[in-house]
């Protein structure tokens, strides 16, 4: 065996041996890392589920095209036929100016001021065409079709196209709320990540501080810095690995137990069945990512935490 191979093997072995001999120190570190990784993964899945819900809502959109008053009935007929011919169109509904006014009046039956204002002028409301798509995910094709040059001129210059129809206000509000929640969530996750990183770092530092005499002894015996540091890094990597496994296992357990009882329900914007499906579909990727994060945190932090005890520089 080559010398460097022997050294590598010894560092690795020492890391594993130390892990088992220092279980009392390992347990708190593993516990802290497990909790952190668990919450991180949970937040991530919650975030994905949440985003999915928002996308679902945004997709429930019908397209309303407000027509310019100058549109002739021939142009209208022609347009209607062409739109109906598209594969992704479920139905097309024409609402004339008069119908629009009637609907408006019915909606605002309690507001005398508005009603009076509307009746004093000539009908200000445009005629419109309401298109319901078959597949909400392919709405973009429809938009492209409608925005062709020859159809643009049919549209009311001010109102144009509305993609939300009657629910516009509601959707606007949801969109606003969700963007705020998304931002708040991101900031929250950021702060959480920072705090938990500090806690993990500190736990590892304590574990290493407890053994600083050991480091000193190794140094005095002439061990090179990486030979001393190696086992600590291996040990911390083991912490990370175990924590990742436990955190994923706990979430897996949670979903298995709770999703059956909560199958139909959803907690607010958190769609449990979607979360379960997402977790199960991406199980191996999530597991690998957790393990990778755990290993990286352990390795990185232990390198930093051992640095101060490994300075070779002698005091002047």
């Amino acid at each position: 065996m080559k010398k460097s191979m022997i050294t590598f093997y010894r560092v690795l072995k020492a890391g594993f041996v130390n892990f088992f001999r220092n279980l009392s120190l390992a347990l708190p570190a593993v516990a802290v890392m497990t909790v952190t990784l668990f919450i991180s993964l949970f937040l991530y899945i919650a975030n994905v589920t949440f985003s999915n819900t928002i996308t679902q809502i945004n997709n429930k959109i019908s397209i309303t095209i407000y027509l310019s008053d100058s549109v002739t009935s021939t142009q209208l007929k022609n347009f209607e036929i062409q739109v109906k011919g598209l594969p992704n169109v479920k139905s097309v509904e024409y609402i004339s100016k008069d119908e629009a006014l009637a609907i408006y009046k019915a909606d605002n039956a309690n507001n005398q001021n508005l009603l009076q204002a509307v009746s004093e002028t000539s009908n200000p409301l445009p005629a419109s065409i309401n298109i319901t798509p078959v597949d909400i995910n392919k709405i973009q094709d429809l938009k492209n079709f409608i925005n062709q040059k020859q159809f643009i001129k049919l549209q009311d210059k001010q109102l144009g196209i509305s993609y939300s129809g009657d629910r516009k206000q509601a959707i606007d509000r949801i969109a606003k709320a969700t963007s705020v929640m998304r931002e708040a969530g991101l900031i929250g996750i950021g702060i959480f990540a920072l705090v938990s990183a500090l806690i993990i770092f500190n736990t590892l530092r304590m574990a290493i501080f407890n053994r600083k005499d050991e480091i000193t002894i190794m140094r005095l015996l002439g061990a090179k810095p990486w030979y001393i540091r190696g086992p600590f890094v291996v040990e911390a990597a083991i912490y990370g690995f175990i924590s990742a496994l436990i955190s994923v296992a706990v979430i897996k357990f949670m979903f298995t137990i709770f999703s059956s009882s909560l199958q139909a329900s959803s907690l607010g914007l958190l769609d449990i069945s979607y979360a379960t499906k997402f977790f199960n579909d991406h199980f191996w990727i999530l597991l690998s990512a957790q393990i990778l994060i755990g290993l990286l945190l352990g390795i990185l932090f232990s390198i930093v935490a051992t640095a101060r005890y490994l300075k070779l520089r002698t005091s002047k």
Binding site: I217, M218, R219, L220, L221, G222
Partner: protein
């Protein structure tokens, strides 16, 4: 083997640990450094193991000029010097065998050779049957002999022992000293610091006395006198 030329170590204006020390130790010599606590014995040894740098003066050990020694080569220097500490400094989570083997592992000695060498060295310090014990299962004297085994397993040309008997009962202390003598007979230069008058008198070796950071006497075949 060891050469100190006008070496001083000044921590600050009020505290001078060592002042213009000249010391020359030949290969295979057995030298005892005596002096009261705070006289500068430990500082002297820490300068030799390069835990500290002298404020001025020249140190050459085993042909290595410390002025030319780079920080990254300090581990290589320490591998050439065996050191025994008053507080043993054993690795608490390793067995006796592993503690001794560690000194060889860090220099990349093969496992086969380690398995050959370590029992032989444990035999020299009379600890062959304690090989699988943990340090906390041993008496003070036994621990110190493990530390000596560790210090000599790489067959260093120089062995530095900083009050190795300071924490031991007289009975065990003498065991430790006997081991040091044995090693010296094998050809290793030994530098021993001690408080123990009886040991100094029995050994009849070169004695260097330090007082207030200065060498006040340097006599061969000497007995204890402060």
């Amino acid at each position: 083997m060891i050469l100190l030329d006008r070496v001083s170590k000044i921590y600050n204006r009020k505290s001078t640990a060592i002042e213009r020390i000249n010391l020359h130790i030949e290969p295979k010599e057995f030298v005892i450094v005596v002096g009261q606590s705070g006289a500068g014995k430990t500082t002297l040894l820490r300068l030799l193991t390069r835990e500290e740098k002298p404020t001025s003066g020249k140190i050459v050990v085993g042909g290595i000029d410390y002025d030319k020694l780079k920080d990254k080569d300090i581990p290589l220097l320490r591998r050439k010097i065996g050191v025994v500490f008053q507080d043993f400094k054993l690795l608490p989570n390793r067995t006796v065998f592993e503690n001794v083997a560690f000194a060889l592992e860090i220099v990349g000695v093969s496992t086969k050779e380690i398995n050959n060498t370590v029992p032989r060295v444990l035999d020299i310090v009379n600890l062959k049957n304690k090989s699988d014990n943990m340090p906390y299962e041993l008496s003070g004297g036994e621990r110190q002999r493990v530390a000596i085994a560790r210090a000599i397993v790489r067959q260093p040309k120089i062995l530095i022992a900083d009050e190795p008997t300071g924490n031991l009962d007289p009975k065990y202390a003498w065991d430790v000293i006997k081991v040091l003598e044995k090693i010296n007979r094998f050809g290793t230069t030994v530098l021993l610091t001690t408080h123990n008058q009886e040991i100094v008198n029995k050994l009849k070796r070169r004695v260097v006395t330090i007082e207030n950071g200065k060498i006040v006497s340097d006599r061969t075949n000497a007995s204890y006198r402060l």
